[in-house]
Amino acid sequence: MLMVVKLIKIWLMFTSRAAQSALLTTWAGVLFIIGKIVRFLLFFVFLFVVLSTVKNLAGYNREQVIFFFLVFTLIDALVQFFFRGVYHFRPLIVSGDYDLDLMKPLPSFFRPIFGYSDILDFVTLIPLWFYFLWFVFTNHLFAGIGDLILFFLLLGNSIVLGFAFHLFVCGVCVLTTEIDHLIWIYRDLTSMARFPTDIYYKFIQYILTFTIPVVILFTVPAKALLGLLSWQWVVLAFLISGLFLWGSFKFWHYALSRYSSASS
């Protein structure tokens, strides 16, 4: 417990430094925030227009499809906020500077994963949460208090799964120095969950559940809040996350054992 409190304090320090760095050039921050808002609004308008005509998509009405999109945006922003550090990991490996982190009394994955939480994602998260809650309550998409609790539990599960994937990618980076494309593949695959994943062919749904579990990350929490989730799916979601987390730690330790500190 004491260790967790210590790590949270260190994370807050890391985040504070990262925020100072991100806000050092206000102009860049403004451009990034404008971009995030424009992307959100254009997708929103597009979905609204299309769903106003088509009325339903894979059995979901317009409000439900927009709800899936909002849950996707929320979880995506949360995962990006926490784990943005992986985008900064490659230079540490290539230069050999990662040695300096390994000497510190911290878990080896801490700096690569949590070292650069993105304040700009946090800034966009606040209005997004307000809008999400307003949208859920005004459209009566909230099925009950039990489902709300389950939603938050599965949201936590998604963050754990996001962590597992980012840890795996860092492991690949240690072994091959390749990270950018893998992260972008993750981003591209997860973007498939902007829409309810039920719209895809069955074999694609299987891929999105068991390979890179996009369904568990985004669709399952959304369905939980709508009260559309069976207990089997809840068990499967936690099981898959647990397996991914275990596998990622195993792989990370294997990758670390192969770390040669080549450039230092």
Binding site: T25, W27, A28, G29, L31, F32, I34, G35, V38, R39, L42, V45, F46, V49, V50, T53, V54, L57, A58, T176, E178, H181, L182, W184, I185, D188, L189, S191, M192, F195, I199, Y200, Y201, I204
Partner: protein, 265 residues
């Protein structure tokens, strides 16, 4: 000309050295293509027509996006910005080679190589899913499509070059490129969905920007949804944007090159 052919050969060999990067990039492009395709297939379901597009036309639009993303939006000139900031540009300036020609040559190789794989991927998906594809009836359509696509290639090159050259004055090259060269570009070019499904007041605003001439209008021509007057107008407006960005890119390059401090070089 010989030195640019040599440059093209070197650029091609670079891709063969960093094969994993290239394969991963192709995989990413393929996912984007599949996501759009499956989304629209789900929207159509058993419908034959939606928002003014026949099912075959929408599938063709999505395939067209994959094709035009490769030949128009595929580019290496984005690397110029970081080279200016790092001072690496100096190496290029010392060589008897024109910078704009250098980057355009690299762009052409990038487009050519990616086009080869894009065509294979598209053909595989069309064959596997037995997709119906819209082929224009008139020969003039193919000609107009080719003309506008060619202009779009140059328009995007000068637009991208302009965004890179901004690096002479600011360190915020990634933020600028991300906003104008990724978010605005992909949405406003129609690289996600046809722009005319949006409310008409919004499309009118978007038509005032250079972006729709990169993907949306070439595809509208291919789908034969524009009459001759509208095609000529689209080509004419694209030409104006092309001349403007050509002038802007050259002007900013000359200004910037005088300003260049070769930091870190």
């Amino acid at each position: 000309m010989k030195k640019y052919l040599q440059l093209a050969k070197i650029t091609f060999e670079e891709y063969l050295v960093y094969r994993l990067n290239f394969y991963l990039w192709r995989f990413r492009s393929f996912i984007v293509f599949l996501t759009l395709l499956f989304f629209w297939l789900a929207i159509y379901g058993d419908r034959t027509e939606f928002l003014g597009y026949q099912k075959a036309q929408m599938i063709t639009y999505v395939i067209g996006i994959a094709f035009l993303r490769t030949i128009v939006l595929g580019s290496r000139s984005a690397d110029l910005g970081p080279q200016i900031r790092s001072g690496e540009l100096t190496k290029l300036l010392l060589k008897p080679i024109k910078t704009i020609h250098f980057w355009f040559t690299r762009d052409v190789v990038d487009k050519g190589l990616n086009l080869f794989f894009t065509i294979i991927e598209i053909l595989a998906i069309v064959w596997l899913l037995k997709l119906s594809f819209y082929l224009p009836y008139h020969l003039t359509t193919y000609f107009s499509f080719a003309v506008l696509s060619l202009m779009a290639i140059f328009l995007y090159f000068f637009l991208s070059f302009t965004l890179s050259v901004v690096a002479f004055w600011t360190e915020e090259i990634w933020a600028t490129r991300w906003l104008f060269g990724v978010i605005f570009l992909e949405f406003l070019a129609g690289a996600f969905f046809p722009l005319d499904v949006l409310p008409s007041w919004l499309t009118k605003i978007i038509y005032l920007t250079p972006f729709p001439y990169l993907v949306f209008f070439p595809m509208k021509i291919w789908l034969e949804q524009l009459n001759s007057g509208e095609i000529i107008m689209a080509i004419f407006i694209c030409l104006i944007w092309l001349i403007f960005f050509w002038w802007l890119a050259v002007f900013l390059w000359r200004k910037g090159a005088k300003n260049y401090g070769a930091y870190g070089g």
